[in-house]
């Protein structure tokens, strides 16, 4: 018994060390720096709350309508769900404030409001579906970051607004090669990274920061720092960031509460969009996914996979960014 425990412990420690080693080599120092800044800002915002005010949250839904007394700027819809049941915590992907405003599960509530918890099975799931599609694009960024070696010199560009009817979610990247023809195995490896992320069940955090802090965080990323001014211009100098594990990206949100909501997932195509500079090129990665718990037979899912390989009609990354933002606003 004790020998077995010891063996288990040593192998666990070895694994931990290995993981740390991997983290150090694979992810550059800039990601650590970015996460540090994110943590600091999160802590600063939490400390800035000061005296805690109580708010009344009127929960509407099953099993019964109740009024919860929560903490302003601290309590999240997830905390409200914790007061209801474990099932509510696990199932709820998105909250709906005052019957109309979609609100992330882990974003603190600001004032008294009504609250509905949405899952993928509600009768009008448009809002949750959109949030899910956006989260898929965001997760795809993280999966690509993990899948590529540093030599590939991967830079995430952006992802257009979610359009479910196009049949695929999209993430645009820049790679230091102009002749990448992905094989089936490579695509499957990226899909596997997505599945791993889903299995880790990482919490998706949201943070609103000032533009200069965002600039500081993304100063290593050429494309993100180019995009930041025009994003901040539209939102009065505030930029919304999302974090999942140690992957941070810019997005307007909302997103679902955790990566665990991703069920069946296939990254089906990587299409070359345009050349960028002398040695790099824009690629558009596309995939299709379903929320966890949705049963779909493999023939039907195969049809969806085939369709998701077609080029998405969303605006391309090499076109001017301002127009892309206007497109986003309209969608």
């Amino acid at each position: 018994m004790s020998a077995a425990t010891k063996l288990y412990k040593t192998s666990w420690c070895a694994l931990r060390q290995l993981q740390q080693y991997r983290t150090k080599t694979n992810f550059s120092a800039s990601i650590d720096k970015r996460n540090d800044l994110f943590n600091q800002e999160q802590r600063r915002q939490r400390d800035a709350v000061g005296r805690i005010d109580k708010i009344e949250v009127r929960y509407l839904g099953l099993p019964e309508d109740v009024t919860l007394v929560m903490n302003s700027n601290i309590s999240t819809p997830f905390n409200c769900a914790q007061h209801l049941s474990e099932g509510h915590c696990k199932r709820s992907a998105l909250a709906l404030i005052d019957g109309s405003v979609p609100w992330d599960m882990h974003r603190p509530l600001q004032e008294s409001c009504t609250l509905q918890l949405l899952n993928f099975h509600v009768s009008e799931p448009h809002v949750v579906n959109k949030a899910f599609w956006r989260t898929c694009s965001f997760m795809l960024g993280a999966a690509l970051n993990r899948a590529f070696k540093p030599e590939a010199n991967l830079q995430l560009h952006s992802f257009p607004g979610p359009n479910i009817k196009s049949g695929s979610f999209v993430h645009d990247i820049v790679l230091q090669t102009q002749t990448w023809q992905p094989s089936k195995e490579e695509m499957r490896a990226i899909s596997a990274e997505m599945v791993k992320l889903a299995a880790q069940d990482l919490r998706i955090e949201r943070l609103d920061v000032q533009q200069d802090l965002a600039q500081e965080m993304f100063k290593d990323s050429k494309y993100k720092s180019e995009q930041l001014p025009s994003i901040a211009q539209q939102t009065q100098g505030r930029v919304t960031l999302y974090r999942m594990g140690d992957h941070i990206d810019i997005s307007r949100g909302p997103m679902v509460g955790s990566t665990g909501f991703l069920g069946k997932c296939t990254i089906s195509a990587a299409l070359k969009v345009a050349e960028e500079g002398p040695a790099s090129a824009f690629y558009r990665i596309q995939g299709v996914a379903l929320p966890a718990g949705f049963q779909l037979n493999h023939v039907a899912f195969g049809i969806l996979e085939e369709r998701s390989k077609k080029p998405s009609p969303a605006r391309l990354p090499n076109e001017p960014f301002e127009e892309q933002q206007q497109q986003l606003q309209l969608s």
């Binding site: 009008e124 479910i164 379903l290 949705f294 779909l296 049809i303 369709r307």
Partner: protein, 176 residues
């Protein structure tokens, strides 16, 4: 090889049966266990949907499947099957139900005759896993939500769009 085909000798069940039986802790020993299971099989045939502990349901399910399967194979003019029905069904009017209602219902089935669901455990309560055991084709409303009707669910949106695109493609092929 001069070996008999086993599937011709006894019913092949369409469910996975555990290789070892469960003892189902009982003060009366094996007889007590069998009485428990007979009660469960009787209740299943009578009520068509019952909620009970997972272990007991899973154990009784195999016997219920075997009973129905034998009834379909041999009919009501077969001594051994009638004895089996007499043993497993404690309320004798259910023997009629087995041969006159369940056998016609399941004659042409290609799937199992019973269905089992995991059910939530009441908290706080006994820690045993709960389950629902039912006969297929029962008159109660389904326990699973029907996702095929809500066109707004993600999979249905995706499939509808795929269908539209396919039709558009066909039309344009016809025109050209």
């Amino acid at each position: 090889m001069n070996q008999a085909d086993v599937t011709k000798l006894m019913s092949q069940l369409r469910i996975a049966v555990r290789p070892k039986k469960r003892n189902l802790k009982n003060a009366d020993g094996p007889e007590g266990r069998l009485l428990k299971l007979r009660k469960t099989v009787t209740a299943l045939v009578k009520h068509e949907r019952i909620e009970l502990f997972y272990n007991r349901a899973d154990e009784a399910r195999g016997y219920a499947e075997l009973l129905i399967s034998n009834a379909i194979r041999h009919g009501d003019r077969h001594n051994a099957t009638m004895e089996l029905a007499d043993y497993w069904l404690l309320e004798k009017q259910l023997v009629h139900k087995l041969f006159k209602v369940l056998v016609p219902r399941y004659e042409n089935y290609t799937v199992s005759y019973t269905r089992m669901y995991k059910a939530p455990r009441d908290y706080p309560g006994i820690y045993y896993r709960q389950s629902v055991l039912e006969l297929r084709g029962n008159p109660y409303p389904s326990l699973l939500a029907d996702h095929s009707q809500n066109r707004n669910l993600l999979q249905n949106v995706l499939l509808d769009e795929a269908r539209k695109e396919f039709r558009r493609q066909k039309l344009s092929d016809l025109v050209n």
